[in-house]
Amino acid sequence: MVASEPEVPPAAVPRTGNAEELVREVHFSTRALPADEQFQTWQYLMEDFAEISPLSEMQERNGYLVDAKGYDLGKVGISLLQADGCAFRRDVDHIKRGGQDHWALCYRSGGTYFSQCGARALKVEPGTLWMTSLAYPFEGSADTGSTISLCIERDQLLSIADQLDRLNHRVLEGITAQIAIEFLKSMAQLLPTTSMAEMPIFVETALIVIQGFVTQADPLDLNPTRPIMAVRLEMVKRHIQENLSSNRLEPDDICAAMRLSRRQLYYLFEELGGVSAYVRKRRLIAIHEAIADPAEHRPIHAIAAEFGFYDAALFSRQFKAQFGYSPKEAREHRLQGYAPPPMPPRIDKWLAQIRDQ
């Protein structure tokens, strides 16, 4: 059923990566399929993401063309989608099933696009830039056209999550938007020939560009309410993120700070492998970022101790278990906490994978 099954790299790739290696491209196209299967294949691939249905005027037409490309840069992902017109609907079920809660900065270079999220309707003419939050349900339709999207995992920017949410389904304006459009276009152009070594600057630039829009956020949040559990989980996550270097992040401390019972807390983090594992993972990621920061010159053990890892041997082991290479290697190679995971089995799993970095 899977249309493009590119060569899957061996499971144990040396995760430090080869700097010369190009950024990996995931691609899918319906061109190779028989015309009558094209639409169904695409529909099937997107089923965990959104429900896709044909537009009425194209019923009689045979075939459905989609060319999709994705570049996984670790903290961010870029997708290029050229597709025939369709209607789409992403509801609460999709959000729960697929798990994607990314922000997507989208630029459309052809064909109009209409989408509705709660009370907010968005109509996009070609050449405009807008923001969509995948954490909210939306539905709409799109003409034949192509879209470039820059997707950023929600956990990456939790500290400005409120402002970014208030940009959901909004057309972005000003010089910042012009620069971001140019940036997206050049990303799309440059990525096929970009090596892994150059990737960090792409990622950093992407994060900077997204943050540039914070000032455009609406004063009011017009988004539909999210499920209470998702909101609660995010509050706890934010609390953890803000207190990573504090020694008061034991489950009991979190319960006390967030007014949750222990049972509720465990229930929230069940799918993430438990709250302690989550805290440890976020701490290791924070340490990794500090270690790989070329402007950070403290010894590794001092950085680790700041985040509560006092036992150097234990820290080293846990770090290696998390990332697949030692802290020393991370510093030497200035890695970004990124090494390509095995190829996703399907293109729709690809977005979920960015989130697990």
Binding site: G174, I175, T176, Q178, I179, I181, E182, F183, S186, M187, L190, T194, E198, P200, I201, F202, E204, T205, I208, V209, Q211, G212, T215, P294, A295, H297, R298, P299, R331, E332, R334
Partner: protein, 329 residues
Amino acid sequence: MTMQTMCLRTSICEGSFERGEEKIAAVSRLHTEPSREPVSGMGRGGAIPAQEIRTYHVGSLKIFTGYNISVSSTRQVGKSHSQFLDDCILIYQTVGDEASKSGASGVRLQSYACPIADLCLAGQSMLIHLPRSAFKGLEDRLDAICDAQREFHASPILHAYLESLRCNLTRLREGEEHVVEAMTVQIVRSSIVRTVEPLVDAVSPASRNRLEAARRYIDEHLTSDSLTVESVQAWLGVSRRQLYALFEPYGGVARYILRQRLRRLHAFLAQSDVKRSVGSVAEQFGIDPCRVQRLFREEFGYGPEEVRPKGVSRPFEVKSDTVYESRVA
């Protein structure tokens, strides 16, 4: 096709301009000093728009854009008021159009500290004046690029960003400067971080980290009396011999500390209206007041009094004024 050639002289030593803002104004004023050649460029579809260098103040950045700019910076020792000495200028040049065959797209970073040889930028180009504070933590890399005096391997994404910035600057609206400023600084920072490693790698990474840590420690404790070679050594946990080995390129630790103190004193004197005597200010910066005149002259080539903004009366002048007034009364 004849082109107007502009001369941008970033001479930071224009004696007539004293204060920071005015000096930048001086730079932008000098742009509009075209070598007057007749414009006969009607051949290619209409008149060439007036060639001028535009200056944009984007937060703490100053951005100049223009066509066929030539840059030269001369540093006349003795006159220079060098609070810009540490700042740096990013030069972005687009691919020259067919009218000027010699153009090539490039990004380079220049520090005002090293004189820039005459540099002709064919085609559209953009210059960004970046304060050194924008490179906090990356000073060693910045110095390595500026010292190398060549184009550094800028990532294509930096090129793309600079190009879109150049095209969109005219549309800059009120309230957006800070976003653009932050974006520019961050992107330049991040490309310095990611591209310069090979330039700096002459020293082993461990000792570079140590050197950087020591430099930072010295920087933070510069005004404190307790900053001595011994305190640096104790804080870093290395032997005296190792410490000297680290600072050998700077002529020793003590020399480095003194130099940094003098630089800070220089910046302080140039910016503030404080009327206290040089000696007492020097003491505050940890410099021996009896030797400050000589040390300062050795380091910069001119005395500390010359750095002070003109028009600020010195203590003894105030005194003579009051004497005069009281006599009149």
